[in-house]
Every structure is written in structure tokens, then in C-alpha cells.
């Protein structure tokens, strides 16, 4: 610096410099100031002047008319408030002041916010929020525990969703706002120990004060120690509580929680339908393969066993048909017709049928007799007829052409 060390400035220049410094400091803009109101003056211009003070210090504030229109309450001395705005210098008086853009009654939430952050930090350090301990939700829960107020809309929202799904619903009633709510919620969760496969803890929207009971260590511990996975659904999507951090899954709303807890019943029905169609189709193609086999077996004697199996199959199809839906029934009817057709084809190939027409089978001790050379005089033969057997002895055998009417 080349100029004199003892630079002389005008008052205006000094205030200008101070203003420049304050304007340049981002920490002095868009800030919230917390304190008690005093010297509240409602000027006839519509602007409001007041002093914000705490035990050690005070700060002049001004709320211009256009900023104060949507205040919603009257400023009064002694009120604890939070003031939003920017720090500026009022140059005519060389006064540093807060140009207010909004004023809110301080209901202690500032303190609550600190409390919230402190608890969050503490529980986080103890591992209550660890992702590794988050448990997966059961796909098909048999027992669903619900911790909420029996009178709330949240419970009805949840029941509407899980209603179509068959499960036992166990309500563990809890007080979800006001004095004693934290204790009520944590003991309601504890009461579900060993009784549920999944637990939904929910309540509908409300003020921060209403939801505050979900920001307690007792509730966080109960979530953590619950023996089944817990879904939290507290307030609206934008409300985040300590309980949400500990829960295995956080849902935006009670309805969303219910949707996570149970499978979609319609999708389940579709799956069942698909499975029965696949079974019918598999059995059908099995029968078709067997039909091909039968074509080889048609001329074979051992049709009796296939007969028995087909008869049995038909009986079972009848039995199953009585208990199925119509589309499966149609397929079964087609199957039954096919079975009947196979049976008819079998019966024309059956030796029993041939015997019925006057033919017979002759067996000796060496097997079926197909040639005159197979028997000797004195042999005992068995003649199989359609309705019985005849035992006889050979008197003579003669080789030669068979001709009707001879002998």
C-alpha cells in the first residue's frame, strides 16, 4: 500500500465499506436468527421494527410491509421467534440490522432438531442403522403384525391392501402420538415377539410434534430388537424419523408398507393357473408319447396291463374332473376321449376279442402250439377259449393242409 497509513475516510465511506464486507459474506445472508422479541413497533407505513435479543446480546430487525403480509400472527414482546433474512447496515444510522423476510414462532423445534441429530448420530455409531443387518421381507408371510392406533386411517389403509391375501393379521394396538406414545409403540412391538413373520409399524400424516414419538431411542431399540423384519410407514413421504432409519424397510405410506408386506394376490392366481396349464399340457404330451408306444404294442398280446392302466387313468381323470375349473375340465374331457379311443384300438388288437369269434389258443408244456409238429400222441394240451380252458390229450397228429370241413 503506497498511500498514507493513517487513511482518512468519511463516515459514509466507512459505512459503505462495512456494508460491502457484510454483503460479501454468504454466512450473513439467508440465515435464521433465534431470539426473543422486544420493542416491537408497528409503524403506520406497515413496516415493523423490533429487537431480537438473547441473554447477552441484541440485534435490530426490520420487517418491511411486503414481507410481513403472510405472517399469520401478531408480533409481541416476549415471543420466542425464528427470523429469516439478511444482515445489512442501515447507513443513515450506521446500524447493523437484520432485514427480515420471514418470522416464525419458535416452538422449540430448533432444539428438537439438535436432539434428533444427536440421537441419529448416537444410534448410527452403535450400528442400529447398518445396512448389513437389514433383513429381507418374507415372500409369503403367514402372520402379519401391525403396530398402530386401532382407530386410525392408517390401519384401514393397510387392511384394505392385505385383505385379499390370506394371512393371520395380528394387531398390536399402540398410542401413536402425545404423551407416552414412544413407550406404547415400543411395548406394542415387543408384544409381537414370536407372533409375526413381518411387522408393519405405521401411522398417518401429522405435524412434526405428532410424529415425534418415532424419534425416540426406545422406539429405535424396539425396532432393532424385533425378531421379525419391520416395515416403517410414518406420516407422509417427506417425513423421515429415526424409526425409519432402523426399520428393515421404510415405506413412504401405510398403503405402500402393506403392498410390500404381501405378494400380489392376482399375480399369485395367475401363477397357479399357469402351473395347472403346464401340468395338463405335460400329461397330455405324455399320453401322446404313450400313444406312439401303443402303436407298436397294438399287435402284442400283453395288452392286458395297458388296459388296466388306461382304466385307472380314466377313473382318475373322472375324479379330478370333478374338482377343476372349466378350462382344465375341457382339456380333461379331450384327454378322456383320447383315452377311450386308445382303449378301443387296444380291444380290437386283443386276443380275447379274437377268441370270442371262435378261435382258440393251444398250449402244450412247451408253450403255444403253432404247428402239428409241436405235439406228439399222448401229450396233454390246454385249450384257451374266450370264457375258459379245456384240458385234453393228443390221440394223433397229422401234418398237412388245413381244410375246412375235414376230420
Amino acid at each position: 500500500m503506497n498511500c498514507s497509513l493513517t487513511q482518512i475516510l468519511t463516515v459514509s465511506e466507512i459505512n459503505e465499506r462495512i456494508k460491502g464486507r457484510l454483503d460479501a459474506d454468504p454466512r450473513l445472508h439467508d440465515l435464521w436468527a433465534k431470539g426473543e422479541l422486544s420493542n416491537v413497533t408497528n409503524h403506520r407505513s406497515g413496516h415493523r421494527y423490533f429487537t431480537l435479543k438473547d441473554r447477552e446480546s441484541q440485534l435490530s430487525c426490520v420487517l418491511f410491509k411486503n414481507n410481513g403480509l403472510r405472517l399469520g400472527f401478531d408480533l409481541k414482546d416476549g415471543q420466542n421467534v425464528l427470523v429469516f433474512g439478511d444482515i445489512d447496515v442501515y447507513r443513515p444510522q450506521g446500524r447493523v440490522q437484520l432485514i427480515a423476510r420471514g418470522v416464525k414462532l419458535d416452538t422449540g423445534l430448533g432444539f428438537r432438531h439438535l436432539e434428533f441429530e444427536a440421537l441419529k448420530k448416537k444410534l448410527s455409531s452403535k450400528g442400529l442403522f447398518d445396512l448389513e443387518r437389514k433383513r429381507p421381507l418374507p415372500k409369503y408371510p403367514k402372520r402379519i403384525g401391525i403396530v398402530t392406533s386401532p382407530d386410525g386411517a392408517a390401519l384401514r389403509d393397510v387392511l384394505r391392501i392385505i385383505g385379499p391375501y390370506p394371512a393371520r393379521i395380528i394387531l398390536s394396538p399402540a398410542k401413536v402420538q402425545g404423551q407416552g406414545a414412544s413407550e406404547s409403540i415400543s411395548s406394542a412391538i415387543e408384544a409381537l415377539r414370536g407372533r409375526a413373520d413381518v411387522v408393519i409399524v405405521c401411522r398417518g400424516g401429522g405435524s412434526i410434534e405428532d410424529l415425534w414419538c418415532f424419534n425416540s431411542e426406545a422406539v429405535a431399540r424396539a425396532f432393532f430388537e424385533c425378531d421379525s423384519p419391520v416395515i416403517s410407514a410414518v406420516g407422509h413421504e417427506t417425513d423421515v424419523t429415526i424409526a425409519d432409519f432402523v426399520a428393515d424397510v421404510r415405506a413412504a405410506t401405510p398403503t405402500a408398507a402393506a403392498e410390500m408386506a404381501v405378494p400380489d394376490v392376482e399375480a399369485f392366481r395367475d401363477d397357479l393357473h399357469l402351473i395347472s396349464t403346464r401340468m395338463v399340457r405335460a400329461l397330455w404330451s405324455y399320453l401322446e408319447r404313450k400313444e406312439e408306444c401303443l402303436e407298436y404294442l397294438e399287435r402284442s398280446i400283453s395288452a392286458r396291463r395297458m388296459y388296466a392302466l388306461l382304466g385307472e387313468a380314466r377313473q382318475r381323470l373322472d375324479y379330478l374332473g370333478e374338482r377343476l375349473g372349466s378350462s382344465e375340465k375341457d382339456r380333461l374331457d379331450a384327454m378322456r376321449i383320447k383315452l377311450e379311443m386308445l382303449e378301443r384300438r387296444l380291444s380290437t388288437a386283443s386276443p380275447l376279442d379274437t377268441l370270442g369269434r371262435g378261435y382258440c389258443i393251444v398250449k402244450s408244456s412247451r408253450g403255444i402250439v403253432t404247428s402239428a409238429k409241436d405235439v406228439l400222441p399222448g401229450d396233454t394240451l390246454e385249450i384257451v377259449l374266450a370264457d375258459g380252458r379245456v384240458k385234453c390229450r393228443v390221440m394223433d397228429s397229422e401234418k398237412g393242409e388245413f381244410s375246412d370241413g375235414e376230420g
Binding site: R156, L171, S276, A313
Partner: protein
Amino acid sequence: MERDEIDLEAALNDLEGIVTKLEAGGISLEESLVLFERGMKLVSLCQGKLDSAEQRIESLTGKLPEDLAVIRR
């Protein structure tokens, strides 16, 4: 297996196994029919369970608001 006792998850797993076996083939007609019958029985048990019209809700304190005594679908 009673309708109320059926475990949907286990039933669905069983059904998957049955369908796979039926589709793979290589089993006797006898076996196929037994599997088919068991499968159809499981399907109808599951459907019956899904169809059960009343939803039971119980309260650990024993008290329930009147509108919740029976939830109908």
C-alpha cells in the same frame, strides 16, 4: 392338509417341482398320474385359500373397533 394350514410358499415350491418332473418325462404313466393328481390338489388348495372370503384379524389387547371385526374382501 387343511386349507388354513397350507403354506403357500411350500405349496408353490412343490408345484414347481411337480411341473418340472412332469415336463421332463421319463416316468411311468402311474407316476405321472400320481404327480398330476397331487399337483391339481395343491392348486385347488391354494385357490381355496385365496378364495377364503373372510379375513381374520385379532388384537393382542382383545379389543377391536367394530368395523374391523371381520374384513371382507
